[in-house]
Amino acid sequence: MAKRDPFLTPGLILIVGFLTVCPVVMLILGSFSPQLESFGHFTAEKYIKAYGDPAFREVLFNTVIFVAGSAVVATILALFLAYLNTRTNIPFKFLFRVISIIPMMIPHILFAVSWALLLNPSNGLINLALRQLFQIEGSWFNIYTLPGMILVEGLLDLPIAYLVIAPAMGAFDVSMEESSRVCGASTLRTLLRITLPILRPAILAALILVIVRSLASFAVPSVIGMPGRIDVLATHIYRIVSTGFATDYGTASAIGMSALSAAVVLIYIYRYLTSAGERYVTVSSRGYRPTVIDLKGARYPLFALVGLFSFVLILLPVLVLFYTSLVPYSMVPGAKALRLMSWKHWIAVLSDPISLVSLKNSLFLGTLGASLGVLLSIFVSYVIVKVRTRASALLESLSFLSFSFPGIVIGIGFMWFFVRTPLYATIWALLIGYIATYLPYGIRPLSSAFIQIHSHLEESSRVCGARTLYTLRRIVLPLLVPGIVSAWILMATMFLRELSVSVVLSRPGTEVLAVQILRFAEDGLWGRLSALGIVMILISTTLVVCAYLVGARLTRTTAVAGG
């Protein structure tokens, strides 16, 4: 890796630039155009239509409440869990790793569906059980409300907020707290006056990240919001482009512009906060152990609470879906349910041609798409971390841009582009859209892998007499494998469950799993939906396990291979 290819950086800027700038430019142009098929003459008419619509004010109001609420719920829960994990003697700490990683494998749409199955007002399992138990009419809970949406979205985004806050809390210099204690402050006072203010950059970063994510979220608004007639920006856009007789991409683009610009601004604030955060969250010297707060009697009750969280986040959705896939219609578990259980829905799904096509497409996108995405990420990360020129800084900014992309908006941007190319309505359109939207998820683990490969490790191999290729094979690649594996896992699971880009770009013949699940949800076919959902979870778990095994094998073989 010693020689710098003069074409590498410009080539990558071209590719990444196309992926990130093209949909944005097309979206802007589209929002000033009369219709999808032609740009025609420029007009502001779509903006007037989009923002003049009286329904828009309510959509905006809902969006703000939804987004802010989810951010607060996710961040507070994340703070609580991170504090328990890094600073107290709570037992079974491995559970926290589970909480922070496993939920990423459960597709958001399935998580949302499982909550709808539990708490919908007409036949939600909990509502049915309560009715049976107390012999009452009506429903106690209704998930199809703003608080319901906020709860589910907040739980979904909890792992992301946790991944931002936990490292900051772990790297926090405890002596600052200790000096507060020495000054006579109580634990609580220290927490409020010292710990939280010092962690403010991390907390703000988590809040902003969740805001961006929930702004882009489509699964929860479509499954939980739409049945309750609560529209947010994402579902408002979706209604404009996919329901009714005349789809109106211009108006959708005009609305998408505000979602996109809000997200871009927020994500750059996030970037500023995290880079500044590294500066003033003191990472203390090596070998330090944070003082652990003894929870005493509260140890097991608090652990029970964490256990409940992991159950709700991981097991509950799977259990609900599996149960629903076996019973003919929604009913409370019991003797009657057991008697009526059958594989009927499974057989229906597995013989449904559209479901099978979507399965095939999603597998294709998950494996090939992730592999291409990782390949691109390897080169981009290499240039960002190791080449370090002004051009590589541009590349970094470009690739970071897509971190802010709300899938449905970027899907519409790409729509304006693909309609003019033969790629329209092909699986390649989806593949390009996916890579553009999820590129940062590949770049991030790979950049940190490259950062860990100190230049001395390569140089010492060269001094030992090894040529560039030999060094690449025996030193760089084996050290990169863990990064490649986690990037691949992230991208593959993201692609397999992708919904928001797909709802725009997917056409007959290019259906994907999440879109098919959304169709089932819209038609109320909960049994089939659940069966397909379980298949989806199984596939993504299998992919993750395979990737781990291949990675472990690669590391072993390349490390010991003799000359």
Partner: protein, 362 residues
């Protein structure tokens, strides 16, 4: 093997500024000795080392290792690092974390495709030499700092290189371990008798390890010599100050008469080691190290270099005191034996040994 460096220059751009890392460096590193490059950080010593090993390309000049020219701008020669056949120990050790100790050490032999039986034998020998027998199957990440350092040394030695280069190899160890490792390294290298080039910013490391050394500043080699020559006889203010604690007193040459050269200074006239080439009136610095200042409690009758002063402070540093004596306006740093019977505020007479008073160019 001798290393000859001729007119080497190197500059690079960092944050929009051109930085001269090496300015016309000329240096001959004698064969089969330990040679140290000493200098403050940013003086270009690491750049010089990396140019020798082939990890940096200088802008101009020539480097020859033994008979072979490995770099020459004029002749258009650049032998890449992997073909120079050198060994190097990096500051970070650069132990590959995904390999065992055996694989780390065997790597240079695997690269040149030695037969496995020979590899096994040589690795075992080298590990015995650095006292790491039985560590073959240990993952490299499960080693202490000192052990990692020895693995790095074994890896650099195993292929029997022409020259071995060290880039501040002890700076990541704690003080006590550093001292032990330094002694070990000295004995390893003396036993091997190969050419070793050692880069450091630590003067004690340089003085205790080297057979010869060069002091660098701002990309230039400012002085070359044995450690004793550098310590006692340097005639440059920067070197004298950098290599140890020194009192530097500004003065002006008066005359040279036979044994001494005399200089006028704010504390009075000082008799210094003779330097007849200096013209009267030249502005100079007189350097006297604290350990060569005698402290007299009784006023002697006569003699040269006697200065009366007041004890301003005494700081206990373990085996002695560090005394600050004010002679007029000038503070003189001295070493005061613990039982000298001197107190703060007292008056003493200082005696400078004229042979230890060095005249340095300003």
């Amino acid at each position: 093997m001798e290393i000859r460096i001729r007119n080497l220059t190197k500059s690079y751009f960092a944050e929009g500024k051109r930085i001269q890392a090496l300015v016309d460096v000329n240096l001959t590193i004698p064969p089969n000795q330990i040679f140290t490059l000493l200098g403050p950080s940013g003086c270009g010593k690491t750049t010089l080392l990396r140019s020798v090993v082939g990890l940096e390309t200088p802008d101009s000049g020539e480097i020859a290792i033994g008979e072979e020219i490995v770099f020459s701008k004029e002749k258009g020669i650049f032998v890449p690092a992997e073909k120079r056949g050198l060994g190097m120990v990096f500051q970070t050790y650069a132990i590959w974390p995904h390999m065992t100790v055996f694989d780390n050490v065997a790597y240079p032999l695997q690269v040149r495709r030695d037969p496995p039986s020979i590899i096994r034998q040589k690795v075992a020998e080298t590990l015995r030499f650095v006292q790491l027998e039985g560590f073959e199957n240990r993952p490299a990440t499960q080693l202490s700092g000192g052990q990692q350092q020895r693995v790095a040394l074994a890896r650099a030695l195993v292929a029997e290189p022409k020259v071995i280069l060290f880039d501040e190899p002890l700076s990541n160890l704690d003080a006590k371990l550093r001292e032990e490792t330094r002694k070990e390294l000295r004995s390893f290298l003396t036993k091997l008798g190969i050419t070793a080039v050692y880069v450091t910013h630590d003067r004690i490391e340089a003085l205790s390890l080297s057979d010869r050394m060069a002091v660098m500043k701002d990309g230039r080699v400012v002085e070359i010599g044995t450690p004793k020559e550098i310590y006692f006889d340097s005639d440059q203010k920067f070197v004298a100050d950098f290599i140890g604690r020194a009192n530097l007193i500004s003065g002006r040459i008066v005359e040279t008469n036979g044994r001494y050269t005399w200089a006028d200074s704010p504390i009075g006239r000082i008799a210094c080691r003779a330097k007849p080439e200096l013209v009267p009136g030249t502005e100079v610095s007189v350097c006297i190290r604290p350990e060569f200042i005698e402290i007299l409690t009784k006023e002697p009758n006569e003699g040269v270099n006697l200065f009366r002063g007041k004890v301003h402070s005494l700081i206990f540093v373990g085996d002695a005191y560090e005394g600050e004596i004010r002679v007029g306006e000038v503070s003189i740093l001295t070493r005061v034996e613990a039982e000298a019977g001197i107190e703060e505020g007292g008056t003493v007479t200082l005696h400078f040994d004229p042979q230890r008073c060095l005249i340095l160019s300003r």
